[in-house]
């Protein structure tokens, strides 16, 4: 494989997204998952009831926060899953397909999040 010094490589961007997503996920996801997946079904909180949750989402800053919370960790997961499939299952011949599926999934998730949060009433 030849070195291509003048070509703009995409790996640095993917790694930056992976790192940013990892930071967001590390700091924020545990508590949010606890609230959503454990505290809410056990009735430990009222903030995730319909009225309260809708009230939270009225604030643009909350929507922006949720966009970041959903988008960057998806890119983090996409990057890691892609490499795990590549290394773990040794399916290198599907390399392009896996990369497109993983990062494409993250892009799709980001678009969905953006659309839902932009149009929320």
């Amino acid at each position: 494989m030849d070195a291509q010094p003048t070509k703009l490589r995409i790996e640095p961007l993917l790694w930056i997204l992976f790192s940013a997503g990892g930071v967001v996920a590390a700091f924020l996801i545990p508590i949010h998952l606890f609230v959503l997946g454990i505290a809410t079904p056990l009735g430990w909180t009222k903030t995730t009831e319909y009225a309260s949750a809708t009230a939270f989402l009225a604030f643009p800053i909350v929507r922006l926060y949720l966009l970041v919370l959903c988008s960057l960790p998806l890119f983090h997961a996409a990057h890691r899953i892609r490499y795990t499939l590549y290394d773990g299952l040794q399916i290198k011949h599907l390399n392009e397909v896996i990369a497109v599926a993983c990062y494409g999934g993250a892009v799709v998730g980001t678009v969905i999040a953006g659309y839902l949060l932009w149009n929320f009433v």
Partner: protein
């Protein structure tokens, strides 16, 4: 473009050298490799959280009946068990992430390298503080 004498980027197959094929289950053969794969798999549970959050926002946008369906799905035993497991994995992600990022940074103060725990320590503290703030905001009975 390649010359006839171009060297390949990896060692050619030599008929008398023995090359062991790497097993598909290489990650089960050593405890360290399994721990690594589990660490990577934690990203799947991160993705699961994002998907759940997107469903939550979608359900909210469709109205109270739709949202109460979402809430009752959260109470489903299988979903609840999945979320418990996901919670453990995302915590595992956070712990390993702060330890890894400390090792990935080389910070020198006064010419000496700052030891890893002085970098990961503040990260853990910040993690607890941020989580406490969010918990205070969102955990109200």
């Amino acid at each position: 473009m390649k010359s006839a004498a171009a060297t390949p980027p990896y060692t050619l197959n030599h008929p008398r050298w023995y090359r062991k094929r790497v097993s598909t289950y290489w990650w089960l053969q050593r405890w360290e490799y399994l721990r690594f794969v589990l660490r990577e798999i934690s990203s799947v549970f991160i993705a699961i959280f994002v998907v759940e959050t997107l469903f939550q926002i979608y359900a909210l946008s469709r109205g109270p009946e739709s949202y109460s369906v979402f809430l009752s799905v959260l109470k489903n035993p299988f979903v609840f068990a999945l979320n418990i497991i996901s919670f453990l994995f995302v915590v595992f992600h956070s712990i390993t992430w702060f330890n890894l990022s400390a090792r990935a940074m080389s910070i020198r103060v006064g010419g000496k390298k700052v030891p890893g725990f002085l970098i990961s320590g503040p990260n853990f503290v910040a993690w607890f503080v941020i989580s406490a703030v969010i918990a205070w905001l969102l955990l109200r009975a």
